[in-house]
């Protein structure tokens, strides 16, 4: 990691730390020993060409990677100092604390908006003490409440793409996570819906550690405090977005972000 210049954001405590993370699909090595730190209340963007391992990387951070048949991870991923790759750790609990938002909005099609927000709890057999309040709070935090408060019984899929994505964020927030992983959350959205999600990311940053995988360099530059460039399963450069987008250290980063690749 490059050193933090004086103009960098205030140093924040570390929320997650990854050490020598190696991820496999069968025998294929997708991540070749990644070590990096994820600070509290900051947005870290992961950029890199297709197949560089960035989605695999964030899927290791909430043990989603191992759900793929034949996939496994080695090394250590610390969440508040505890290695979540350990055998003694319940992956379901990890996924509650480290929530995820996917590329394509994926509300449950048969569920209402209200049910979708609560789905993470109800599907795990948890009954929140005050569901109405949790629905409202989650939707407010996801900046969707004003648009749907009068139609909570409509199906989630009746919403626009951008609203569906915010609904998925609300569903993630209802579980009161500590870290939010976003895997290209705007790639299926139009520029206005994208701007709303980015604005939401700025708000959520006040309370969560956020990691976002994106193919849009401009999006990484706009939303992230720190940016990590992955290439062929390796972490090439990791530094403040200010430095990465004005004066990257590595020529491979320079080539990629300026569009001189391949």
């Amino acid at each position: 990691m490059t050193s933090v210049p004086p103009s960098a954001p205030e140093p924040r405590p570390e929320k997650m730390r990854v050490e020598s993370l190696r991820a496999y699909f069968g025998d294929a090595l997708a991540l070749k020993g990644i070590s990096m730190s994820v600070p509290e209340r900051c947005v870290t963007a992961i950029i890199g060409p297709s197949g560089c391992g960035k989605s695999t990387f964030i899927r290791c951070l909430n043990r989603m990677h191992e759900v793929t048949p034949g996939a496994r991870a080695e090394g250590a991923v610390f969440l508040d100092g505890k290695n979540i790759l350990g055998d003694d750790v319940d992956p379901v609990d990890v996924r509650r604390r480290v929530g995820m938002v996917f590329q394509k909005p994926n509300p449950f099609p048969t569920m209402s908006i209200r049910e979708n927000v609560l789905a993470g709890l109800t599907l795990n057999g948890i009954r929140p003490p005050d569901p109405a309040r949790l629905v409202e709070e989650s939707l407010r935090q996801a900046a969707l409440w004003d648009e749907v408060k009068d139609s909570l019984d409509r199906t989630g899929t009746s919403l626009s793409g951008g609203q569906q994505q915010r609904l998925c964020i609300a569903r993630c927030l209802a579980l009161e996570p500590e870290v939010i992983l976003m895997d290209e959350p705007c790639s299926a959205l139009d520029p206005i819906a994208t701007a709303r999600i980015e604005e939401l990311i700025h708000e959520l940053r006040e309370r969560f550690a956020i990691l976002i995988v994106t193919h849009s360099m401009q999006q990484a530059a706009r939303v992230s405090d720190f940016t990590a460039f992955f290439y062929m399963g390796e972490l090439v450069e990791h530094g403040t977005a200010d430095v990465i987008f004005t004066k990257p250290t590595s020529s491979r980063t320079e080539d990629y972000i300026t569009g001189r690749f391949g």
């Binding site: 004086p6 360099m217 401009q218 530059a221 987008f245 004005t246 004066k247 990257p248 980063t253 320079e254 080539d255 972000i257 300026t258 569009g259 001189r260 690749f261 391949g262």
Partner: protein, 240 residues
């Protein structure tokens, strides 16, 4: 920026900016050269023609600004491309000012040529030649992205300043000797000052080349109050 862009149209746009900046720089060089000849050879026609060619510099400044703005809007450049484009925007401002200073030199040359010569302008011509060499070298450094060459240009500014001080002292003696020398001596002094400022602008260009290549801002190094301590530098403003 050794590798070409995947998008060749973008590559072409950046090349166009680079070419236009170099064209503008070469034009300023040409004007400075002509102004010095007009001074040494007492050629008022050449001085007037040189003044007219400042229009080309002004037009190029507007064109390059527009070009950079369009590339910034369309491509959202980052890293070395961003540094190159933002520096191009600044470079042209300094180049345009240099063109104006050459016009000022020519105005004084025309005034001087209406009087008998005060003296042969050996040191002044030397000074202008150094400034000219600095400009030429800094444009080469810009083209090649050569930090060492840009730094050498910056160092030469001290030579120009020393020559200016020497010319200034000599002109004072002329003025003290005979008050009838004052009109011409002040014109010569102005020309020396214009050349000295052209060298200052060239130094700015050198600093921009260093930033463009390295991303390191070397302007005002050691001369800005320390941010940590909130110090303010006191003392006289520089003599102008």
């Amino acid at each position: 920026m050794n590798r070409a862009h995947t998008d060749r149209e973008y590559e072409g746009e950046l090349r166009r900016v680079r070419e236009q900046v170099l064209t503008m720089g070469a034009k300023v060089e040409e004007m400075l050269d002509a102004a010095v000849r007009a001074l040494a050879e007492r050629d008022s026609d050449l001085a007037r023609a040189t003044m007219a060619s400042d229009q080309v510099i002004n037009r190029l400044e507007v064109e390059i600004d527009g070009l950079c703005l369009r590339v910034l809007a369309k491509r959202q450049p980052v890293a070395s491309d961003l540094r190159f484009l933002t520096m191009a925007l600044k470079l042209v401002t300094d180049l345009e000012r240099m063109g104006d200073l050459v016009v000022n030199i020519c105005e004084r040359v025309v005034e001087l040529n209406e009087e008998p010569p005060l003296k042969p302008y050996v040191e002044l011509v030397t000074m202008a030649e150094v400034a000219h060499q600095m400009l030429h070298a800094v444009l080469d450094a810009f083209l090649a992205g050569d930090v060492a060459a840009a730094e050498r240009v910056i160092e030469r500014d001290a030579d120009v300043d020393a020559l200016y001080a020497s010319i200034f002292r000599e002109l004072l003696t002329y003025m003290m000797e005979n008050t009838r020398n004052i009109y011409r001596a002040t014109r010569v002094q102005s020309i020396a000052k214009y050349v000295e400022r052209i060298a200052d602008h060239t130094t700015n260009l050198g600093e921009m080349v260093v930033f463009m290549v390295r991303g390191k801002d070397i302007r005002h190094s050691g001369r800005l109050p320390s941010r940590e301590r909130g110090e303010r530098k006191s003392g006289r403003p520089p003599v102008s």
